[in-house]
């Protein structure tokens, strides 16, 4: 019984091994380089006792506030300047196409790096991904060509759920009976794109550690530190 419970609790903490490099080596950008932080796409749900995942807007908004703050603090401490953009407000057709391409490239990286062999591209031996020079279309029109135009774009996606109180109780109860019920977990996917060349310079997918609550200031900070460990910026 105890063993069964241990296994259930352990399952979500298994981190996904990353078999291939997830970034390119770049010269550290100058202090004052502008980084365009795209508004994070966040969905957090409440995993109920019955197994439905009820989307919770206020959780997503809390997580967004704290994650954006943690990112800002981390990057400004390094001397970078943060500028913000909301990709959901882009209406220019060509820029929209670039956004969609970026999503597609992210999906390819995910499938190549994490699909445990089934989606792995045999000829992709180094971290070599690009969305092309069209990436510059993501630079807000008023900043295009300016000296302080953003050089890199940072994309963050968060998806996950937290168990409701009833579900936690049920997990314990079921575990005592020897049955495992999946626990809630959250995952963060982030990438940095060079807005001049379109090159993806870093991509990372990480499951939020047990005991880290990204809806809180401290939790978001802890996770961003872990997420950005190998960020080449």
């Amino acid at each position: 019984m105890v063993l069964a419970f241990g296994l259930i609790a352990f399952a979500p903490t298994i981190s996904l091994a990353q078999p291939i490099p997830n970034h390119v080596a770049i010269e550290r950008p100058m202090s004052g380089t502008v980084i365009l932080a795209m508004k994070a796409d966040i969905t957090l749900s409440e995993l109920t006792a019955t197994g439905t995942a009820d989307p919770k807007l206020e959780w997503a908004e809390n997580a967004r506030r704290h994650i954006e703050q943690a990112i800002s603090a981390r990057l400004t401490a390094q001397g970078y300047v943060i500028s913000r953009a909301d990709p959901t407000t882009i209406t220019d057709d060509a820029a929209l196409q670039v956004l969609k391409l970026n999503d597609a490239v992210d999906a390819s990286i995910m499938s190549h790096a994490y699909a445990y062999g089934t989606g792995k591209l045999p000829t992709k031996t180094s971290f070599d991904w690009t969305i092309g020079e069209g990436a510059s279309l993501l630079i807000p029109a008023d900043a295009r060509g300016a000296a302080n135009a953003p050089r890199y774009a940072l994309f963050v996606k968060v998806k996950g759920s937290y168990s409701s109180g009833a579900r936690k109780l049920m997990m314990i109860g079921a575990a005592i009976g020897g049955v495992g019920i999946p626990m809630a977990s959250q995952a963060v996917e982030a990438s940095v794109v060079d807005l001049q060349t379109g090159r993806v310079i870093w991509h990372k997918f990480e499951i939020v550690g047990l005991g880290v609550d990204i809806r809180t200031e401290a939790g978001a900070k802890t996770h961003i530190e872990s997420l950005f460990k190998d960020l080449p910026l």
């Binding site: 006792a49 019955t50 009820d54 989307p55």
Partner: protein, 434 residues
């Protein structure tokens, strides 16, 4: 005296600036007599009603708006924005001032589908626009969808599903725990497996039962939405019985399928349903109409004119939609759709051409001969696609009728000397002439 709804719709026809939503009063009793229970329906959403902060609905709306953004920038959204403007103008006629709450996007997908998201964003697929025959029918479908939205059906369905799930889960958990402890005490692996297997069978029954009642609720909501569709159509000044026509044609299209499996299944709500769904709904709509009109049925005037008006709207896209429909590879259904469009004799060139294509692609016994007939019929009309002669040539060539094939191919090349495949056909002509 006229019923209030009808009376007001007459006023509306004269003064469109009045918001039809103000007239929106459903006859709950008439619906009940027609077999549709509206007593447990949510109240009508108020104007631009937003979800309460931190509610489940707020979360669902937020997700729905993400999907809306995806749809609005999707490559499958039609590039013919004037078509969306037209569909939205029908929404405006039935919803008046509230029409901006139901935002329609036309998606180029060859299936009969319209769906509304919890936040009011609505997809209308071109396969539906091809299949409705008048603006009245379109108004009914849009009114049906608006009904789902304005009565907050999706959140209610989700809640009901959860309540049902709770009961299912409690039972299945109980059984699983019981089985697990029994298996732990069993003295062989085989015995343990048997115990687990028999329990999983039990769980499936419980699960499927829950699913059935979930779908059952959906059916209730569909029937309710039909009543709303009727009322909205009426208040927008449309012929309210148009809905019956759509559902009836959907049943007939199912029966026209090439596949036996399809012919048998979709006229029922689901594997648990014992009654054909659409027939019940048609009957409910008919009875509702009778109740509202003192047992006389509403009649439509100028059916032919209405179909012609609608055809004028969709004519520019007809060819593309028919070509898309062929991709479903259910040629029996495509032919059924085309035959319905052929009632009015308009567009005989395009319609007969695609009828020929469907027959040629199906290629069953006798289909080639029928395809040839359809192509030849197309040629009699002004709007026959230039490719018609090429297809005729192709069939003659397969039938080894050289002179006829040559004549048709030559007619094609003469009519379309700059066509991309003109050189291929020219080559075929040379081969046949040897």
């Amino acid at each position: 005296m006229q019923k209030p709804a009808k009376f007001l719709s007459t006023i509306l026809a004269l003064n469109l600036s009045l918001s039809p939503i103000a007239t929106y009063a459903i006859d709950v009793n008439a619906a009940k007599i027609a077999g549709v229970d509206l007593s447990r329906e949510n109240p009508l959403r108020s104007n631009n009603q937003q979800p309460i902060a931190n509610s489940l609905e707020a979360g669902i709306w937020s997700e729905a708006s993400k999907v809306e953004l995806k749809a609005s920038t999707s490559g499958e959204r039609t590039s013919h924005r004037e078509l969306e403007t037209y569909v939205q103008s029908v929404v405006a006629r039935i919803l008046g001032a509230r029409s901006m709450e139901v935002r329609t996007y036309v998606m180029e997908r060859p299936f009969f589908n319209a769906s509304v998201a919890p936040n009011g964003y609505t997809e209308v697929w071109t396969g539906l626009l091809l299949r409705v025959q008048s603006e009245d029918e379109l108004a009914f479908v849009l009114g049906h969808e608006a009904g789902h939205y304005l009565r907050s059906h999706s959140v209610q369905t989700y809640q009901e599903y959860k309540d049902r799930q709770a009961a299912t889960l409690a039972l299945s958990l109980l059984l699983t725990v019981a089985a697990a402890s029994a298996a732990a005490n069993a003295n062989s692996i085989g015995a343990a497996n048997n115990i687990m297997n028999s329990t999983s069978t039990l769980i499936d029954i419980v699960y499927l039962g829950s699913l059935a009642s979930f779908l059952g609720y959906n059916r209730d909501k569909e029937a309710a939405a039909d009543i709303y569709g009727y009322d909205f159509a009426l208040s927008g000044g449309y012929y309210p019985r148009a809905g019956e026509n759509i559902w009836r044609r959907q049943i007939d299209e199912t029966a026209a399928s090439d596949e036996e499996r399809k012919r048998r299944s979709p006229t029922r709500i689901n594997v648990f349903g014992s009654h054909p769904l659409e027939l019940e709904r048609i009957e409910a709509l008919r009875k509702y109409d009778m109740e509202l009109n003192q047992q006389n049925q509403s009649a439509s005037s100028s059916d032919v004119q209405k179909r012609a008006d609608y055809r004028n709207r969709i004519r520019p896209y007809l060819s593309n939609w028919l070509r898309d429909d062929l991709r479903r590879r259910d040629f029996g259904q495509t032919i059924f759709v085309i035959n319905n469009l052929l009632i009015d004799k308009a567009d005989a060139g395009v319609l007969n051409f695609y009828k020929g294509e469907a027959l040629r692609l199906r290629g069953r016994e006798g289909d080639f001969a029928s395809a040839l007939g359809a192509y030849q019929e197309a040629l009699l009309a002004q709007d026959a696609p230039v490719e018609t002669n090429r297809q005729i040539g192709e069939i003659y060539r397969r039938q080894d009728k050289k002179p006829e094939a040559l004549a048709a191919y030559k007619a094609y090349v003469a009519a379309a000397p700059n066509a991309e495949d003109a050189w291929i056909i020219q080559d075929l002509i040379s081969q046949l002439e040897q």
